[in-house]
C-alpha cells in the first residue's frame, strides 16, 4: 500500500506561489485560510535565499491526532491524515501541536471564536461520499479518488513540490541529488520536514486507524 507524502525541493522552489493558488482555487478554500503556503528565508541574499512550500505533511506519528480532545482525526490506508469536521469543535489544540502550522481556522466571529479546523487533505476529501458535493463543500476536491495526485504537486512548474507514494517520490528526489552531486553542486541536500514528519529512515509505516476504533465502521 502506498504511503502518500510530500517533498519540497528547496533548491528548485522559485517562490512562484503557484501551489498556493492552485490549492485555493481547486478546493475553493475561503479567504483567511491557506492550506499551503510558501516560506522564504534569507530573502534577497544572493546565493542563500531558499523557499519551501509547506502544508500538512501527513505525519507518521501525527501530533494533531495525539492532542485532539474529540478524536476527530483518522489516518487512511494510504497514510493520509484526515479529520471529520462534524466532530471538530475548533479548539485549536492541533494548531499548537503541529510543527508545520498546517491547521487553519477562520476567526471572523465575536470574542475570537474560531471555525472548525481546515487543513490540507492531500486532495483526498473526508468522510463524506467520494466526489460528492457535501465532501467538496467541507473538504475540497477528492483527486485521489479520481485517480489523480494533489494539484499543488502536479502543477508545480519546476517540480520542486512532488507528492505521492513515498518510494516513488523519494527515488525521484534521490536521482536529482545524485545528479547534483555528480555536477559538483549542492553536495548535501536535506529534504525539508522529512525527518520531523516521518522520522528517521527505516521508521515503521504508519498504521491506519483500526476499523474497531471507528464507531459504525465495518471491521
Amino acid at each position: 500500500m502506498a504511503r502518500m507524502k510530500f517533498i519540497c525541493d528547496t533548491e528548485r522552489c522559485i517562490e512562484c506561489n503557484g501551489c498556493v493558488t492552485a490549492c485555493k482555487n481547486d478546493n475553493e478554500v475561503p479567504w483567511g485560510i491557506n492550506r499551503r503556503r510558501v516560506v522564504t528565508v534569507n530573502d534577497g541574499i544572493v546565493g542563500q535565499e531558499k523557499s519551501v512550500s509547506v502544508a500538512c505533511m501527513h505525519c507518521s506519528d501525527a501530533p494533531c491526532m495525539a492532542v485532539c480532545p474529540v478524536d476527530c482525526f483518522y489516518r487512511t490506508d494510504e497514510g493520509v491524515v484526515l479529520h471529520d469536521k462534524d466532530i471538530c469543535i475548533g479548539c485549536g489544540y492541533c494548531s499548537f501541536a503541529c510543527p508545520f502550522g498546517a491547521p487553519q481556522f477562520l476567526s471572523q466571529g465575536a470574542f475570537g471564536s474560531r471555525s472548525k479546523m481546515d487543513k490540507c487533505t492531500f486532495c483526498s476529501g473526508g468522510p463524506e461520499v467520494n466526489g460528492s458535493v457535501a465532501e467538496f463543500e467541507k473538504y475540497g476536491r477528492n483527486r485521489l479518488a479520481e485517480g489523480k495526485l494533489p494539484l499543488c504537486a502536479e502543477m508545480c512548474s519546476t517540480k520542486a513540490l512532488i507528492g505521492g507514494d513515498d518510494e516513488v517520490i523519494s527515488s525521484i528526489y534521490a536521482k536529482r541529488v545524485s545528479v547534483r552531486e555528480a555536477n559538483g553542486r549542492y553536495p548535501s541536500t536535506d529534504i525539508f520536514g522529512w525527518s520531523t514528519a516521518y522520522g528517521p529512515s527505516g521508521s515503521p509505516a504508519p498504521k491506519p486507524t483500526p476499523a474497531d476504533k471507528i464507531p459504525g465502521a465495518k471491521s
Partner: protein, 78 residues
C-alpha cells in the same frame, strides 16, 4: 379562592419539576466518527481519469504510480 391558589401552586410546581422531561436527548453518538471510503473505489463525479477500474485497488495503484512518474523529468525525457 384558596382552592384555586392551591391548584395554581400545584400546577406551577409540577411544571417546574417536570420541565426537564420535555428535553430531547442529546446523544453523543450523533458526532461519532464515520468510516471513509477508500479512494480506489472511485469518485461520484465526472472528473475521473480513464485507464483504471473503480473498485480495483491494483488498477488504481497503477494509475497513481503512472501519474507519480510524470513528476520526474528524468523519466519523462526518456
Amino acid at each position: 379562592m384558596k382552592l384555586n391558589f392551591k391548584t395554581l401552586g400545584l400546577c406551577l410546581a409540577a411544571g417546574t419539576l417536570l420541565a426537564a422531561c420535555s428535553e430531547p436527548p442529546e446523544i453523543a453518538a450523533k458526532a461519532a466518527k464515520r468510516p471513509d471510503v477508500a479512494p480506489y473505489m472511485g469518485a461520484d463525479n465526472g472528473f475521473m481519469t480513464k485507464g483504471w477500474t473503480p473498485g480495483n485497488q491494483a488498477s488504481w495503484a497503477e494509475a497513481i504510480n503512472k501519474r507519480n512518474q510524470k513528476q520526474s523529468e528524468y523519466s519523462r525525457a526518456k
